[in-house]
């Protein structure tokens, strides 16, 4: 991709889990994407497509039996894959922060909100209770929590889901990270609160100038918040494009299928159009393109050989045989009619 100011470049990341005496399950298999500075990258995909494992891999929080097998995670020119655990700890929460899916369980029930936000300051800036209290209150104000002086002494169980997610965001942003990874930050919240939290993340992004990786399975969230999108399927990025391009002119049959399956308000529609078939199980991956068994255009080539991630057009990437010279199916294949 042309842009030189990428804060993060992930290149051919491979994360596998080794279970039952060495049996390998490839959760993330060759993921490549860039996160431009100050922009938001959306990672979409269904459950089990490797979104969250990608996020945890970036922070190197993969627990045994999982392992980052190869690839590069390039943060401002430094490859995180080679970093020691000690060096990673300095990066976590400081340069890269993460917020999690479940605000109900992502806060420690035995500590007050204030104590938990204070952790960030204690870990990275060595601040004591007195020095950090003011900062904690400021942080709570920033994430839109009313009367922070009172909230600071409350326990997580005294707060609603939306409030807790705000506290999570405050914890993550306490040390001014340059990159925020939000792993389905709104999945557990109801729709109105979802909109508020997304808006809050956007506002804070503008204010603090950070980049965001937004992991979600909700294309609506992507359309609203992201600048770039990486579509994941079975541990691989199948399409990477600017958000407008992706919605206007999706190229990969999987992306097309996803967009087609959304309910539309502009035409009369009796039924939704699903993508037929199911996701192959990770220990029984097809040899060729992992989407081939469900793809309406798949040929023998697709079933037998895995396509590479190709760069087409302006910064777009796609993993599909249709867009290569080797394509042996219908040359007229037009995958999307707007």
């Amino acid at each position: 991709m042309g842009s030189e100011n990428n804060i993060l470049r992930v290149n051919n990341l491979q994360t596998s889990f080794f279970i039952d005496g060495g049996h390998e399950i490839k959760a993330v298999d060759g993921v490549t994407f860039d996160v431009p500075e100050g922009k938001t990258l959306g990672i979409v995909g269904e459950s089990g497509s490797g979104k969250s494992i990608t996020a945890l891999s970036i922070l190197k929080l993969i627990d045994s039996p999982g392992k980052i097998k190869g690839g590069e995670i390039n943060l401002k020119g430094e490859n995180l894959v080679d970093k020691t655990e000690k060096a990673m700890r300095k990066i976590r929460g400081n340069t890269i922060s993460m917020i999690f899916q479940e605000p109900m369980t992502s806060l420690n029930p035995t500590y007050t909100v204030g104590q938990q936000i204070r952790e960030s300051y204690k870990i990275h800036q060595g601040l004591g209770k007195r020095e950090s209290t003011e900062k904690v209150i400021e942080m709570l104000k920033l994430v839109g929590i009313p009367s922070p002086e009172k909230r600071i002494n409350q326990y997580p169980f005294e707060l609603s889901g939306g409030m807790r997610q705000r506290v999570m965001i405050a914890m993550a942003l306490a040390c001014n990270p340059e990159l925020l990874i939000a792993d389905e930050p709104t999945t557990a919240l109801d729709v109105t609160i979802q909109a508020q939290i997304l808006e809050l993340i956007k506002e804070l992004q503008d204010e603090l100038g950070m980049s965001v990786i937004m992991i979600t399975h909700d294309l609506g969230v992507v359309a609203e918040t992201c600048d770039f999108v990486a579509v994941m399927y079975c541990g691989k990025v199948v399409e990477y494009a600017e958000v407008k391009t992706l919605f206007k002119n999706p190229r990969h049959p999987y992306t097309v299928g996803l967009l087609k399956s959304l309910p539309r308000s502009d035409i009369d529609q009796l039924e939704l159009i699903p993508i037929k078939g199911t996701v192959p199980s990770p220990d029984n991956m097809p040899e060729g393109c992992s989407f081939a068994p469900r793809c309406p255009f798949a040929t023998e080539l697709c079933h037998d050989h895995l396509p590479d991630l190709l760069e087409i057009g302006d910064g777009e990437q796609i993993r599909c045989w249709i867009y290569t010279d080797d394509w042996d199916g219908d040359p007229e294949v037009k995958v999307y009619e707007p």
């Binding site: 045994s64 992502s106 909230r151 169980f157 005294e158 914890m171």
Partner: protein, 305 residues
């Protein structure tokens, strides 16, 4: 931002320190459980009595005018009376004095052995649960070996090796309580480790030591406290059992298990010799059990409010 529609605050007049509040909450929940409160006061009273009698001879003479180990063959096999509240045994020793003086032995063995067991068992359990893998396998197999022996048999074996004495009984009971601690703590650690807030705090860059001490330990503390309390009861029973078998306290120490054994030969004609030490064991063990149950309920975060 017009984002504050979700305000949840319970209106509160003044902001209380969270520590004070949680302690108050705990007391409120605990005092609702009347039997547990009674158990607590029984324990408190017995501990107070044991310490008073063994440390202040002036009070000792008031509470127990008869010396617990003075043999008085003229007054042997006396039933309970105003002179000898619980009667006398086959050597004419005052049973009440012996029970009161035996209290410090019994409670001492209970507390010391459980604390020793906890000091060894809790770190083993946390390390096994937190790190998993080979470390877990090694620690837990060791614990399984200990657990494979029936408790009293294990204690018996240890005492036979070390020789019969009160200190050795304490050590034996401590070793015997290690597996329980390790397993319970490991289980709670496993459950806690999987929670998202541990991931969240790791994602903030916390070290393992920090996570273990500040975020895992407080969350496994309630099962530790509850089980320590319940284990004291078991420890007292085991120690009494060993003394009953003659492996613990040596005569003339007024250990309750040993006293029970003394009374065994005279059950038919002088049942009170065995009855009162047995009753004492029953009361103490029951008090610890009920208190432990109450603690468990009060410390359970699911029962908040």
């Amino acid at each position: 931002m017009s984002l504050h529609a979700e305000s949840t605050a319970v209106p509160r007049e003044k902001v209380e320190s969270p520590r004070v509040k949680s302690i108050k909450d705990f007391f409120r929940r605990f005092t609702k459980n009347k039997p547990a409160v009674i158990g607590f006061f029984v324990i408190l009273f017995l501990v107070f009595l044991a310490i008073t009698v063994s440390s202040f001879s002036r009070f000792d003479i008031i509470i127990t005018p008869h010396d617990p180990s003075t043999v008085n063959l003229v007054d042997r096999f006396q039933g309970p009376s105003s002179e000898y509240w619980f009667g006398t045994d086959h050597m004419g020793r005052d049973i009440f004095s012996r029970i009161v003086h035996g209290m410090i032995l019994t409670l001492g063995i209970g507390f010391v052995s459980v604390i020793m067991g906890g000091i060894i068992g809790v770190p083993l359990g946390i390390i096994a649960g937190f790190y998993g893998g080979k470390i877990d396998a090694i620690i837990m197999r060791f614990v399984d070996v200990l657990l494979a022996f029936p408790g009293i048999l294990l204690a018996l074996a240890i005492v036979s090796i070390l020789g019969g004495s009160l200190i050795n009984v304490t050590i034996a009971v401590a070793i015997y309580s290690v597996p329980g601690f390790a397993r319970i703590v490991r289980g709670s650690t496993l459950a806690t480790k999987k929670l998202e807030y541990i991931d969240a705090i790791r994602a903030l860059g916390a070290t393992d030591t920090r996570i273990i001490f500040l975020h895992v330990l407080p969350n496994v503390l309630s099962p530790i406290i509850v089980n320590a309390t319940l284990y004291i009861a078991t420890a007292i029973l085991t120690a009494a059992g060993l003394s009953f078998l003659g492996l613990g306290a040596q005569p003339p120490a007024p250990e309750w298990g040993a006293m029970l054994n003394d009374g065994r030969n005279h059950l038919r004609d002088a049942g009170h010799i065995a009855f009162f030490p047995g009753l004492a064991i029953l009361v103490v063990v029951l008090a610890f059990n009920i208190f432990g149950d109450g603690l468990r309920d009060a410390l359970d975060p699911k029962m908040k409010n």
